[in-house]
């Protein structure tokens, strides 16, 4: 019951926000922060309470298809991540959106999205996940199309088409596993026990459809193109939603479909594993290559997200507990690193108006806090030890080596290539920022351009989280490896 309240509360409170017609910025800020913090608090309570283990059915669609909320360990992991990141992201956007305007409708949809995302993390079965998945597209669409400037309308349409195409494909796969499965709830190892051999090809085809469908939101090639386009949205949207909530929901969905619905036993060793795996491995390198070519900083980060998401998907598709372990590690760590990078980028854009990589010369000294956090996140993302980016890369590579067959060659090779390219596209801007060339005149901006505390504090907290986890992540890691091994 509390789970349902957790989901419903932000949705309703967000939906009624425009009705208040608030003119005062402070009042609205307080309202939004309050709702967000309350929701997060409730989420954390649910995380630790054991009553979340039992499911709460809140909707009966048909006799068999029900929508149920339930927290298993993986759900707890994702819920914790979202609940931790959201309040800080709201704080950041309170200052950021002052530059954009139309905040009433923006925060209404933003808060509603929080509820929907929690719904995804708390889903107890595949139908529920699908329902929230589609709703997520609908609530994030107005955020992308906020104020319809900068080509946001076209980006929004593209996002809509891709997402619903994905949903359409996923629906087909879900119907199949729904019909043939023993139960609909998420069960580690899949629900397709007792499947006759002649039914297996059909189910594998269904898995491929479900993978592609859910894979749209996790930006697997060739269905990734919406993500760079959506980078024209306001930064709080890109940072939290398209680097963390939406895309990680996609990754979670892929993992749920693979491990908890169709099950590795059906897919392992067949084309149904090889094809998605190769697609994700390709995306890993492709995303990085496109990021190197891209001159607009935010778009560059979007391509980086495309690549990193496929780390998670690739790890999951190794279909081993170690692979899942690495994937979940990267899910958490990348979310932290990427939200830090995007928010730092947003700070640069609002304070200096500079959007392109070539314009970043010397900004490091003018915006020290922003760039220190950006540097830490970048170093971590490239995979320099002892930072968290290295830990997840290491686990993924180890899982790859152990997987056998051609997987043990492709996975580490993709990771290595990607690491080199990541260094190229991240370290070069960072170098420009800290070491401006003497002979370029515009490289010395005057004064301190760091943003105010509302944007600085989230950046500092996330950076601190990266640093703390880099040296002390043992509890988190053992929790994740429990999930990966299937112990509930």
């Amino acid at each position: 019951m509390l789970l349902f309240l957790n989901v419903l509360f932000p949705v309703i409170m967000g939906a009624i926000l425009p009705l208040f017609r608030m003119k005062s910025r402070t009042l609205r800020s307080v309202y939004v922060m309050l709702i967000t913090c309350m929701t997060s608090a409730l989420a954390f309570y649910n995380l630790f309470s054991s009553s979340s283990d039992s499911g709460f059915v809140f909707l009966h669609l048909t006799e068999k298809a029900v929508c149920v909320l339930k927290l298993d360990d993986m759900g707890r992991l994702f819920t914790g991540l979202i609940a931790f990141l959201w309040p800080m992201a709201v704080l950041y956007s309170l200052e950021y959106m002052e530059h954009e305007g139309r905040e009433n409708s923006f925060f209404a949809w933003y808060t509603m999205t929080y509820g929907i995302t929690l719904g995804i993390s708390m889903s107890g079965d595949l139908i529920t996940l699908y329902v929230f998945y589609e709703l997520l597209t609908l609530t994030t669409l107005p955020l992308v199309m906020h104020r319809l400037v900068n080509g946001r309308a076209a980006a929004g349409l593209k996002y809509l088409y891709y997402s619903l195409l994905g949903a359409a494909l996923a629906f087909a796969g879900i119907m199949l596993v729904f019909f043939y499965g023993d139960s609909t709830s998420f069960t580690y190892g899949g629900v397709l026990t007792g499947l006759a051999d002649e039914q297996k090809p059909l189910l594998r085809f269904g898995y491929l459809l479900a993978f592609l469908g859910m894979g749209v939101k996790s930006a697997v090639f060739p269905l990734h193109d919406w993500l760079p386009s959506v980078s024209v949205a306001p930064t709080p949207v890109t940072a939290l939603l398209h680097a963390v909530a939406v895309v990680k929901a996609g990754a979670i969905a892929v993992i749920r479909v693979t491990f908890y619905a169709f099950g590795p036993a059906l897919i392992a060793g067949t084309w149904a594993q090889a094809v998605p795996f190769c697609l994700s491995a390709f995306t890993v390198v492709f995303g990085c290559a496109m990021a190197v070519k891209e001159k607009h900083f935010k778009r560059r980060l979007a391509y980086s997200t495309v690549s990193n998401l496929s780390y998670i998907v690739m790890g999951a598709l190794l279909l081993t507990p170690e692979g899942l372990d690495g994937a979940l590690n990267h899910l958490i760590y990348h979310a932290l690193m990427k939200i830090c990078l995007f928010c730092a980028c947003g700070a640069i854009m609002t304070r200096t108006g500079r959007e392109y990589v070539s314009e970043l010369h010397g900004l490091g000294h003018a915006m020290p806090v922003t760039f220190v956090t950006l540097t830490v996140a970048a170093v971590s993302l490239v995979g320099i030890p002892p930072f968290i980016g290295f830990i997840s890369k290491w686990k993924l590579a180890q899982a790859g080596v152990l997987a056998g067959d051609f997987y043990s060659i492709i996975a580490p090779a993709a990771l290595i290539l990607s690491a080199i390219l990541t260094a190229v596209y991240l370290f070069i801007p960072v170098c420009y920022a800290w070491f401006p060339a003497k002979d370029i005149p515009e490289s010395k901006p005057e004064g301190s351009l760091d943003p105010t505390w509302r944007m600085k504090l989230p950046l500092i907290i996330w950076c601190a989280a990266i640093l703390i986890l880099s040296v002390y992540s043992a509890p988190l890691q053992s929790f994740i490896s429990e999930i990966a091994r299937g112990a509930m």
Binding site: P385, Q398, I420
Partner: protein
């Protein structure tokens, strides 16, 4: 006790860097700045010596994940490298006090100088491959500041080239570490290696391909073909004392990594006699020859010396790849002698630039008359590099050749020494003209307008110290040879 010493050796330079940042007023007071740096470094030399005298030790200081311990370890190789790094780092400080007058930004330079040493010492004391990788990357990131110190567009471009090549190389090395860690229980360093060839998760051919990529990757820092292109760009553009340590010391960090991978993780037995060994020998010999040729043809003085580094470090690599005790001894000897020689050469080149502004070899007519001591040091060092007895260079080359002949690697047994010989001739060809034209500028020279402009004695002291080591080491190499021989035999 040993562990404490190890940790202090690593942390002292880092603490020194922090102090340089925090203590106010150092920007204007160069004397105090360099005094502090010098003291920290001397103290570190003492610490390194003490650690060297203590025995073996091991300490896991952090666990990133269950299968991912970060470990410090003191064994013979690490103690040698630690002392080597620290001493070679201290020598140029006196020189840079005078040299950096015209460069500026001394505080930033010294901070990164000290931090890089901390990373290098940590690298020396690494106990597992992952720890080594960590410190290797840290060292790269910190030394970039040294390369792009001048902050012109060219310097920054060179710094970025260095950065990207180094990271690419280190990441290629990481690829190997991924596989080795699974197959050797965590890639902990064990003398003689711990790879069980019969129980690998991939086929031997695949493993050898991976090892090739790994070694070429770590060889980037050492300037081995095909990953050498950054070196001739980055080394010349750094300030002279930085070039000296880049060529003399940091390249050896790459060598250290290769040593660790081959002898302490994989084991020589896996590689000996295979196509992998032959490929590696080919690459290193190719680099030796190519580096010398390019040096011979370059007119820019510092660039010539950079190409020389490319060539010389591959001597070291060749000796390693022979997988033979005498050859390995020769390599280790060449590490110390090349380092001191190259330091001298770069410091001399820097002195010439500092005093006369001349950057090209063709401009150096009569330089010997203007800066006699400098050029004398240069000459003696050159002789060392060519390999004329009784300099240290001769000892190391002798060991290398002997080891090659005894290595049983077929064609390379004699090809190795032949290439070494050709390279020695080329070395003479690219180094001696400086001496010859410097002291005997020819009939057309304007003898009347000559002025001596010898550099400050501080700068000379560093150079003389190095040259003295080269000569004395060449005459009395016994202790070194014995020590390195012990290391070599423990590994094979």
């Amino acid at each position: 006790m040993t562990i404490l010493m190890m940790v202090l050796t690593i942390l002292l330079p880092a603490a020194g860097a922090l102090a340089l940042k925090l203590i106010p007023g150092l920007d204007g007071d160069r004397k105090r700045l360099y005094l502090m740096t010098g003291c920290v470094l001397l103290a570190d030399c003492v610490l390194a010596a003490i650690t060297a005298l203590c025995g073996d030790a091991e300490w896991t200081f952090l666990r990133l994940a269950d299968s991912l311990p970060l470990m410090l370890k003191s064994d013979m190789l690490s103690r040698f490298f630690c002392v080597f790094f620290t001493v070679m780092w201290t020598v140029p400080v006196l020189y840079s006090y005078r040299y950096m007058e015209h460069e500026g930004h001394d505080r930033r330079y010294n901070m990164f100088y000290l931090l890089t040493l901390a990373a290098l010492n940590a690298l020396a004391f690494s106990g597992t491959a992952v720890t080594m990788y960590l410190n290797f990357e840290m060292m790269t990131l910190l030394s970039v500041a040294l390369v792009l110190h001048e902050m012109t567009k060219d310097a920054i471009a060179a710094g970025l080239k260095y950065l990207i090549y180094s990271i690419a190389g280190a990441t290629m090395g990481l690829l190997g570490i991924f596989y080795l860690a699974t197959n050797t229980n965590g890639a902990v360093f064990v003398p003689g290696g711990s790879l069980d060839a019969s129980a690998m998760t991939v086929s031997p051919t695949v493993m050898m391909i991976i090892l090739l990529i790994t070694i070429v990757g770590f060889g980037t820092k050492a300037g081995m073909f095909p990953m050498h292109a950054w070196l001739p760009t980055a080394h010349p553009i750094a300030p002279a004392p930085a070039s000296a340590v880049l060529s003399g010391v940091i390249t050896k960090a790459g060598v250290l990594c290769i040593l660790r991978i081959i002898f302490y993780v994989v084991g020589a037995g896996f590689i000996r006699g295979t196509w992998l060994q032959q490929t590696l020998l080919t690459l290193s010999l190719l680099t030796v020859f190519m580096g010398s040729m390019m040096a011979f043809r370059t007119d820019l003085f510092k660039k010539r010396l950079a190409y020389s580094t490319v060539s010389q470090v591959s001597y070291v690599l060749m000796g390693i790849f022979m997988l033979q005790p005498t050859a390995l001894t020769g390599s280790l000897l060449h590490i110390i002698f090349h380092s001191t020689i190259k330091t001298t050469l770069f410091l001399a080149a820097g002195a010439i630039i500092h005093q006369t502004g001349k950057t090209k070899v063709s401009e150096l007519e009569g330089i010997g008359k203007q800066m006699p001591v400098t050029i004398w040091c240069f000459t003696l060092a050159s002789l060392g590099l060519i390999g004329i007895p009784p300099t240290g260079g001769f000892i190391s080359k002798w060991n290398l050749a002997q080891g090659a002949l005894a290595s049983g690697t077929g064609i390379f047994s004699w090809l190795g020494p032949v290439v070494l010989l050709i390279s020695a001739l080329l070395t003479a060809g690219y180094l001696l003209p400086v001496t010859i034209h410097g002291f005997f500028p020819g009939k057309d020279f304007d003898y009347e307008g000559l002025q001596t402009c010898e550099c400050h004695r501080f700068m000379l002291i560093s150079m003389i110290l190095c040259v003295a080591f080269v000569i004395l080491g060449g005459m009395f190499p016994g202790a070194f040879t014995a020590f390195f021989g012990r290391i070599a035999s423990s590994l094979m």
